[in-house]
Amino acid sequence: MARFAMVTDLRKCVGCQACTVACSAEWDVPTGYARTHVRPTQISGTFPNLVSSVYVAQCNHCDHPPCVEACPSGATFQSESGVVQVDKGVCIGCGFCVEACPYDARYINPATKKVDKCDFCMARVGRGAQPACVATCTAHAKYFGDLEDHSSDVFKMVFQGGAQGLQTRAVSVGPNVYYVGRKEHLDLIRASFPPRQPRLPVAGEAWTRVLKPLVLAAVGATFAGQAVAFFTQLRKGEQDFED
């Protein structure tokens, strides 16, 4: 099939935000929100040997996406090629997925009231183009391709070039957005923008911890009790006339 992934070369990125602008223009992202995030990291080292980097991120299209698990209406799903997408026709804008994403890659569009996020520009890729951010990058620092295509740039960078996704021991959901750079760059983005634990809003916690077990127990018990009554009825048989 295919397994799409993206790689950013931190040695080349200068944080110019061209990718953010291209993405926002392509997908009508409202002002104040973004599908991509480009932010400077902290500075490490001692003067005059200072290092800083740029954190370039969007949806990581993870191998084990916590957002897909959290969506009550099944609007968020993962396609065969690993791309996590949102079916806007099914999304009700409950926000569970926004809380669940460890990378805070999602937002709720205030106009449509539905969740929006990077979808690796599937519409553009379908036409044979590159994602908007990759096509526009002024430093040619972004790469996009199929990890199962052994001749692709991303395959070489990930499996031969040591490109790494942003994971920690606490949060390792298998992101498919990778970074190439000096060790200091990778350490900096990991230190400045670590992924957080997936979480649910209070309503979702109430469901998972209290209501869902209650519901399963109640429906199960009712069904079992009624089944027992039914078997008793079968054994007793029916009478034509009541007492």
């Binding site: 959290a70 409950c94 309503a203 109430a206 998972t208 009554a229 009478q239 009541e242």
Partner: protein, 262 residues
């Protein structure tokens, strides 16, 4: 007594009952298929595939679910507003749904009977027995929750946090009704003693023996009304007839026309 029939349900309520049952079936089929993520899923994968085959894109599932839901709310609003005095007034609720002493005792005895721990007879019941009343009370409480949370989700009312709560409360309320439905459908369609009750939802009537055995206090009310009607019509006709005795009350006798019960 088996021959004579007493009217228990009028046409409007029978129509609403079957409309409700059909909508619930459609909503459960689509609703359960909509809940597909791991946190919320209650149906197996093959069920989701089958439904996908029927409805196609998931957006269609949601459209059907919302359309049925809005229609359902609309019809219930019509009944609730135009039929307020028939269905929702305090007087009706107290008469048909409120639990009295006999009802509480009935619940205790019934549970004892099911567990095989008592041979006591059930106390007399009104037009609906205590179990039916409990189901009605639960439904009256949860249906507004289901409707309101549905509307919050469809129209994104009161903001994202409210929509999140609406999701969870919608599922929980539906599950509560499903528990009640398991018993309700069993009692109506499977349990042999209540067969007359099932057909009463289609014909509107029950045979008098069933009413005498299962809803004695209601049978008494109907008999009292019948006597009152006859008394008034005797007085109007100017003639004097012997008042019917207690023995005659229970006769299947004349096969008179069914007495209408509001």
């Amino acid at each position: 007594m088996l021959q004579r029939r007493l009217k228990k349900h009028h046409v409007a309520i029978m129509l609403l009952h079957w409309f409700n049952a059909s909508v619930w079936l459609g909503e459960l089929v689509t609703g359960i298929a909509l809940i597909s993520s791991h946190f919320f899923r209650v149906a197996p994968g093959w069920y989701l595939s089958v439904i996908e085959g029927v409805f196609g894109p998931r957006a269609n599932l949601l459209r059907v679910h919302v359309a049925l839901g809005l229609l359902w709310i609309g019809i219930f609003l019509v009944y609730g507003i135009f039929g307020f005095r028939t269905y929702l007034s305090q007087e009706v609720l107290r008469k048909e749904i409120a639990l009295d002493g006999d009802d509480v005792r009935w619940l205790v005895v019934r549970v004892g009977q099911i567990l095989g721990r008592t041979r006591e007879k059930l106390p007399p019941q009104g037009i609906y027995n205590a179990g039916q009343k409990l189901f009605a009370i639960m439904v009256y409480g949860t249906l507004p929750v289901i409707m309101l949370t549905g509307l919050v989700m469809v129209f994104h009312l009161f903001g994202t946090v409210a929509v999140g709560w609406a999701v969870v409360l919608h599922f929980a309320a539906v599950a509560a009704v499903v528990c009640g439905l398991i018993v309700h459908v069993y009692m109506g369609a499977v349990f042999p003693e209540e067969k007359p009750a099932f057909f009463s939802m289609i014909t509107g009537t029950v045979n008098e023996l069933y009413a005498y055995n299962h809803h004695f206090k209601w049978w008494q009310e109907v008999m009292a009304e019948e006597r009152e009607w006859e008394r008034r019509h005797d007085a109007a006709a100017g003639g004097r007839r012997a008042a019917p005795t207690a023995a005659e009350d229970g006769d299947s006798g004349s096969g008179a026309a069914a007495v209408s019960v509001p």
